[in-house]
Amino acid sequence: MKLDSKIPDGPISDKWKNHKFALKLVNPANKRKYNIIVVGSGLAGGSCAASLGELGYNVQCFCYQDSARRAHSIAAQGGINSAKNYQNDGDSAYRLFYDTVKGGDFRSREANVHRLAEVSENIIDQCVAQGVPFAREYGGLLANRSFGGAQVSRTFYARGQTGQQLLLGAYSSLSKQVSVGTVKMYPRTEMLDIVKENGSAVGIITRDLVTGEIKSWAADCVVLATGGYGTVFNLSTNAIGCNVTATFKAYKKGAGFANPCYTQIHPTCIPQEGEHQSKLTLMSESLRNDGRVWVPKFKEDADKHPSEIAEDRRDYYLERKYPSFGNLAPRDISSRSAKEACDDGRGIGTTGLGVYLDFEDAIKRLGESAIRERYGNLFDMYECITGENAYQRPMRIYPAVHYTMGGLWVDYNLMTTIDGCFALGEANFSDHGANRLGASALMQGLSDGYFVSPYTISGYLADNGVKDPDPESDAFKQAESEVKERISTLMSIKGKKSARHFHVQLGKIMWEYCGMARNEKGLKKALDLIPQLREDFYKDLSVPGSSDSLNNELERAGRVADHLEFGELLCRDALERRESCGGHFREEYQTDEGEAQRDDENFAHAAVWEYKGKDQVPARHQEELQFDNVKLAVRSYK
């Protein structure tokens, strides 16, 4: 597997500018001759499909939801970063670049991150022009808030529903293109394989989730914007339907999968209640602007009502350990600190797996109405789920799987190792290294979709000309028959257990052995347990109903089947990365103070996995990461 990152020459601040000029263009009159498939309609996919449509290409966009507007980007709460420096507090594209590389624990690609920081300013302009109702000050100008891992206020927000508003913005642009005919939208349609001819991606195979029809779609290139793989843990903040299937199928067809072990555990989620639970709910990181995180100083206080624990018997552990960032320490560090406190027996709530996020001081300082104005919907959501009023008693929170930094390996053009197959947004690996800073996912999705892929995809099409592949060709027929065979395998097991049952079991293994802290023994154990579970799955799965109509159980079974293989890849990557960095914490590699210890000499690279066939150990390749601008340093937030 050849990993050519295609990073342009020149100083970092000129690379993108020069590259845009170097990319070939497609004549406006020729654009309509090209067909492009976009899978996924979230921030990355939706904005990419809309932008390509605006340019005049023929775009076919697919999503499994009943409408493009429901992609899971919609659930992002807190905000979107941009180096606008409207606060006059010292921000710049270079600082956003620097913060992101540092926040990612020096495991991302400098050139990509700098480009992201550069275009971050255009994103806010674009969204405001679309009518996204960002929060404003009384003077009518845009408001900002602070987020973790940064000392400037660069986060733009729309109450606690920023993801929703940005997605609806992208969806509105997409809808306009649907109305003018450049984009055709296919909701309730799931991609089940990618098709290659002569080494290049030429189309996909889908299942119509209503009729069950399996269909081939041919195009000049394929864009995967299908999100992350957090649901491999079953319980996560992701939507129930989120899955790894599209990216995993691409991996099996030759796309390198980079750094699957980089998973982000978000520090502020509502703790798990019981076995019935289907998902965990995030409480936006923005709450840490005004909330203070604490646990009782002494174990004996853990069961007491928080109001009975005196001020001097509380441990505001983030403020104590990281005085300069305090409650706004980055996500990986905050999550691990919460785990440490709970492991120490000082966790709160019925399970002992929880810490307090307390707004008492902020309410005293600013008044309840100011807090309601900033976070009202989050407090309502908390009360709706827990039945508790967070204006009166501190919120209970605990870390949960939230985002995955790993993904399909892509070059500077966002193309995977399959020629003509691009990966955008959370589905790729490039920008966040080993840890993503808050409010950067929305930025990356829209950057890839509005401002990067329209250029790089045009460049690819100009280089390759109209391919006009035939959806009746042997390559498509074979892929179709493989998809049908996989479905009939799942339907014909006729066991006793639901896909959900196996998903829960897989999630337990992943969380126990490959969660917030990992070690060699545990990872090896997981690598032992997952194949056993997979074997049970193919013996005892039950999928009632038929495959030629709407069948939620069949959809889930297919996704769980892929997770049962992918989970193994994730654990293998975690095992081979013998260092701690960002979201990947190996217990064997930590400092005396319990902080993550990187090994830059041996691991300053992206690990890229190549599929080698069924039951074969995949091959591990490396892309060495060069840091010419940001000095490798111990990441300190003290």
């Binding site: 659930a75 409207y86 009518g131 729309a158 529903q161 809808s175 109305s179 289907s278 639901s498």
Partner: protein, 253 residues
């Protein structure tokens, strides 16, 4: 908790549906309504019976997928709450709960509790956008927008497109949904150039899709999980009247 469920089962859009009774036991009062449905389905699947199909995804009240009419009320008895955020603590042990799909002609049933809401997408496609190409925008702070206007636009934009407003309306009117988008975009300065054609086209598409008229019952506002206000409908009616007059004189931009 132990519960009796009466659930609408319908094989496909062409088939006749009926209410079927089920029982579930050992339901935690801290579980959500959809988690209760998950457990019912897990029981059914382990017996080799077909699971009850229902739409759901984010399970945090924002994607707008879930669409259950619970005891006759879209999204159930809890005010400003989607079905996925409704928790079982609001029901009594031993209670009988009826669960039906959205009941409105423009939303045909696909299967069981799943309905087709693509008519909403069509309404948005006919004008629920501001025409701006990627890359052509001016600086975001170039147009100051009074905070109250931005806040009003945000109140309107909070709509999740679930369709409860239509399901609650005896006329199956989509006025609340349509007016929320019209109000958001027509209030903001960026949306003014297309203001008139937007409202005319969206209302036309809404009518063509078979949604009924608004007769001011206000059921839509009462069930809206995001508490979208009837003020939006008033705003749309005003904009529609102005645009219609301009249209009559041929002066719509």
């Amino acid at each position: 908790m132990k519960l009796k469920l009466r659930i609408w089962r319908q094989e496909s859009s062409g088939c006749k549906g009926r209410m079927v009774e089920y029982e579930v036991d050992n339901i935690s009062e801290n579980s959500s309504f959809l988690e209760m449905m998950d457990l019912l389905n897990e029981d059914l699947v382990s017996e080799g019976k077909e699971a009850v199909a229902f739409d759901h995804d984010c399970r945090e009240g924002i994607c707008g997928s879930c669409s259950l009419t619970i005891n006759g009320i879209p999204h159930g008895p809890q005010k400003a709450t989607t079905a996925c955020q409704l928790h079982m603590r609001h029901f009594d042990d031993g209670q009988t709960i009826s669960i039906e799909p959205w009941n409105a002609r423009p939303f045909p049933v696909i299967k069981d509790l799943v309905v087709n809401r693509s008519a909403f997408d069509k309404i948005i496609q006919s004008g629920g956008y501001i025409s701006v190409r990627a890359g052509s925008a001016q600086d975001a702070n170039a147009i100051p927008i009074p905070k109250q206007d931005a806040d009003f636009a945000m109140d309107a934009a909070a709509c999740i497109g679930c369709g409860a407003c239509v399901a609650a309306c005896k006329n199956a009117s989509a006025m609340l949904f349509t007016s929320a988008k019209v109000s958001q975009l027509n209030t903001l300065p960026q949306g003014k150039p297309e203001k008139d054609r937007r409202v005319l086209n969206m209302v036309k598409t809404m009518d063509q899709a078979g949604f009924g008229n608004c007769t001011n019952y206000g059921e839509c506002e009462a069930v809206c999980p995001k508490e979208i206000s009837l003020d939006m409908i008033a705003k749309m009616n005003r904009d529609y009247a102005v645009a219609s007059v301009k249209n009559f004189f041929g002066t719509v931009a």
